[in-house]
């Protein structure tokens, strides 16, 4: 049974309760048992006490888009290594995408993921089921069974649902089972064979481009279907300016749409792939300055609801090859906090908005617990040192894979203590109080 923990003097940022001030937080029996003025909670015997002056105490971060690779590609990541990396990044929960091998389109895989996650104990794992059997885009997967086993949403992520009728039926039928439908928006006949953003740089490198309209056409289709069916939709990994304009317009009309982006889309542009850097190869691809600016704006104005990492571990064999052949995606769990804090330092976001994007909103979108520090809520907490600077090196990575374009970057801001249901899942050593 987790014992008593007292977090003293930290800057408690809890947007759900409108709190942003220095407070003490007491944890007992795996729950938040009190949030009170500094010094007002006694340091009784047997309590683990942390003095967190200068640090942020926030609800545990929730990454609604990760690839844990297990079952099937354990050489890239396992549920244990992935959730350990999550804890080190300040996350207490992750949503696991279904493109495992086999695809998570049935209760057996869902239950396996949950069992492995419980065994590891580093983070809550919310399985996301497939929209179509085998993510083949032909027949609906068994949503009811997936939901019963513990899935919280459905998507064919990694692939779009090319068939519009199937997407319509998925939205309609997901309503019976209270499942969120997540859209990987990509018009495949336009993106086919593409390896990076379409434009002058792709031309210079001789790489086939993925035009931004490949994303936008599908975003539009899925917004139209959400409006038509009256069912909520969540748009994953938004990367373009025009996608945001479409989402903004749909929200204005009252369509039940939520959307996420990833730290790389507000940090990097396509120039990161110059020199055939496969560590910056991803889908959707890194875009342009104008897109980065639009994403930052959309994070501020509420067009985007969440920051998710799209954590996509790959081995060297998948990346140290010809650019065209290299796998898409980067790891992200251990860099999300410093990259998002960079926006706070640049006054693009305030701290409270950052916590909404990384914790409160993902919890609400997925309909799961967490995202708050309310008394009685599960004690899922991240303590962030916003000042700590570090160089992101391969040796420091807890994920099983190393595929990050941020290797060698000096980053600022780090999760130093992560608590899951009152248990410490990550503590940076040596811990400086």
């Amino acid at each position: 049974m987790p014992g008593l923990i007292l977090l003293k003097n930290g800057r408690v940022i809890d947007p759900a309760n409108g709190i942003d001030q220095n407070l003490d937080v007491l944890i007992a029996d795996g729950k938040i048992s009190a949030v009170a003025q500094p010094g007002s909670l006694p340091e009784e015997k047997g309590r683990l006490v942390y003095d967190l002056l200068g640090k942020w105490v926030v609800p545990g971060l929730i990454d609604m888009h990760v690839h844990l690779r297990e079952p099937g590609q354990e050489y890239k990541e396992t549920i244990e290594t992935g959730t350990r990396a999550a804890a080190a990044g300040g996350f207490t929960a992750v949503a696991a995408m279904p493109n495992t091998k086999p695809v998570n389109d049935n209760q057996a895989v869902t239950l396996f993921i949950l069992a492995k996650a419980a065994q590891a104990g580093f983070a809550k794992v919310y399985p996301v089921g497939a929209i179509s059997s085998g993510s083949k885009g032909e027949h609906l997967a068994e949503f009811g069974e997936l939901r019963q086993a513990g899935a919280v949403a459905v998507t064919d992520d990694g692939l779009p649902v090319g068939n519009s009728q199937l997407m319509r039926r998925a939205l309609e039928y997901a309503g019976n089972h209270d499942l969120l439908v997540i859209s990987h928006a990509e018009e495949m006949t336009l993106s086919h064979g593409g390896a990076m953003n379409d434009g002058p740089l792709a031309t210079r490198l001789g790489l086939r481009g993925i035009p931004h309209v490949a994303e936008e056409i599908m975003v539009y289709r899925d917004l139209a279907l959400a409006e038509f069916t009256g069912r909520p939709i969540h748009i994953a990994h938004v990367s373009t300016r025009e996608s945001l304009a479409l989402i903004r317009r749909a929200k204005g009309k009252g369509v039940a749409v939520t959307a996420e982006t990833a730290p790389h889309y507000f940090t990097l542009t396509e120039t990161a792939v110059d020199g055939y850097n496969t560590l910056a190869k991803m889908n959707p691809p890194l875009r342009t300055e104008a897109d980065v600016a639009a994403i930052r704006e959309a994070l501020r104005d509420g067009t985007l609801d969440a920051i998710a990492t799209d954590h996509a571990p790959h081995g060297e064999l998948d990346k140290d090859i010809e650019f065209d052949l290299a796998a898409n995606g980067i790891i992200g769990l251990e860099t999300a906090v410093p990259l998002t804090l960079q926006l706070v330092r640049e006054n693009q976001l305030d701290a409270r908005r950052m916590v909404e994007l990384l914790s409160l909103n993902p919890a609400r979108i997925l309909g799961v617990s967490g995202g708050t520090l309310s008394v009685g809520a599960p004690a899922d907490i991240a303590v962030i040192d916003p000042e700590q600077k570090f160089v992101f090196t391969e040796e420091s990575i807890l994920s099983k894979s190393r595929n990050s374009p941020f290797l060698g970057w000096e980053l600022q801001g780090k999760a130093v203590l992560t608590i899951l249901d009152g248990r410490i899942t990550w503590r940076q050593e040596p811990f400086s109080s």
Partner: protein
């Protein structure tokens, strides 16, 4: 040229990496080597004891042979590996195969590969020099240089010339290297073809784009027709070869719009009657076979220069 200038490249990956002086130096060296190929004993001992591997992942007749002839005329030992015979078809990665080749201590690996960036990837993993003999739709620097040499021979200069390149610019590594090379040497390059085959941002490489072929060749000193790759026909890039020939083929009517002494080039192999009228290919303005001859001289120069000769 600056008397202090020296050619310093270890690899030849693309003309984007070359300065005007580098190009100048290769062309001068190639011109001095060209005479060797016209001797009755076509061999000099310059690179005796050097090992060169031709590592070709795509079918190629003239480029592979041209590199091999170039190396042998300078007495280097050459070895050829083609895709079907290599272990990459057995699942080995490019880098593993390359490391194995490198373990046999070659001095230079010449690579042709269907993926853009493959030559650079190789250069990052082995000690030997790497020459890019064409990577995907990226660059084909030796072809670009032999085209520059051929034009300079015919026109006596490069600066101030107007070069018209007609056809599939999007998928042509030859076009990319030519646009970069001619622009660096002060020529102006205009491209034209079906809009589906003009890639975005080609202007940033140094080309102007014309909507019609007639406009592109207007007043041109050089007309270069590019090969239409029939295997790309699944992608709806243009309606038919018949219509292509009619609107984008280099014909007598097109040539008449260029300068009276304009020359006609083609990197080969030619689809006769599609991108180029057969009579023009064989006619007096054609320098197509000169391109092939100069190819050997340019490749001799490149191999010589990267092996540190002077």
């Amino acid at each position: 040229m600056d008397p202090e200038y020296r050619f310093k490249h270890k690899h030849v990956l693309g003309l984007a990496d070359f300065s005007a002086e580098d190009i100048q130096s290769v062309l001068q060296t190639a011109e001095s080597f060209k005479e060797i190929s016209s001797r009755s004993i076509k061999k000099v001992p310059t690179l005796r004891g050097k090992t060169i591997i031709n590592f070709f992942f795509e079918p190629s007749t003239r480029t592979r042979l041209s590199f091999e002839v170039a190396a042998k005329r300078m007495s280097a030992d050459t070895f050829n590996i083609s895709n079907s015979g290599s272990s990459t078809v057995k699942g080995e990665t490019l880098i593993d195969t390359a490391r194995n080749l490198a373990a046999m201590n070659p001095d230079c690996i010449i690579i042709r590969h269907p993926r853009s960036g493959a030559a650079r990837l190789l250069a990052g993993h082995i000690k030997a020099s790497v020459i890019n003999a064409g990577d995907g739709t990226h660059e084909h620097p030796s072809q670009g240089l032999l085209d520059l040499m051929t034009v300079r021979e015919a026109k006596g200069k490069l600066a101030g010339l107007k070069i018209a390149i007609i056809g599939d610019i999007a998928h042509s590594r030859v076009a990319h290297s030519n646009i970069i090379g001619f622009s660096k040497m002060g020529a102006s390059v205009t491209v034209s073809g079906p809009a589906t085959l003009i890639p975005p941002g080609i202007e940033e490489l140094g080309a102007q784009v014309s909507r019609t072929v007639m406009e592109a060749v207007d007043g041109a000193d050089v007309i270069m027709a590019l090969r239409i790759q029939k295997e790309r026909q699944q992608d709806p890039l243009f309606p038919s070869l018949r219509e292509y020939a009619q609107f984008f083929g280099v014909s007598h009517r097109v040539v008449a719009a260029a300068k009276p002494d304009a020359i006609i080039m083609h990197p080969g192999p030619i689809n006769r009657g599609v991108e180029l009228d057969p009579k023009l290919a064989d006619g007096s303005r054609s320098v197509i076979l000169e391109q092939v001859t100069n190819g050997v001289a340019v490749r001799m120069a490149l191999i010589y220069l990267i092996m540190g000769g002077d």
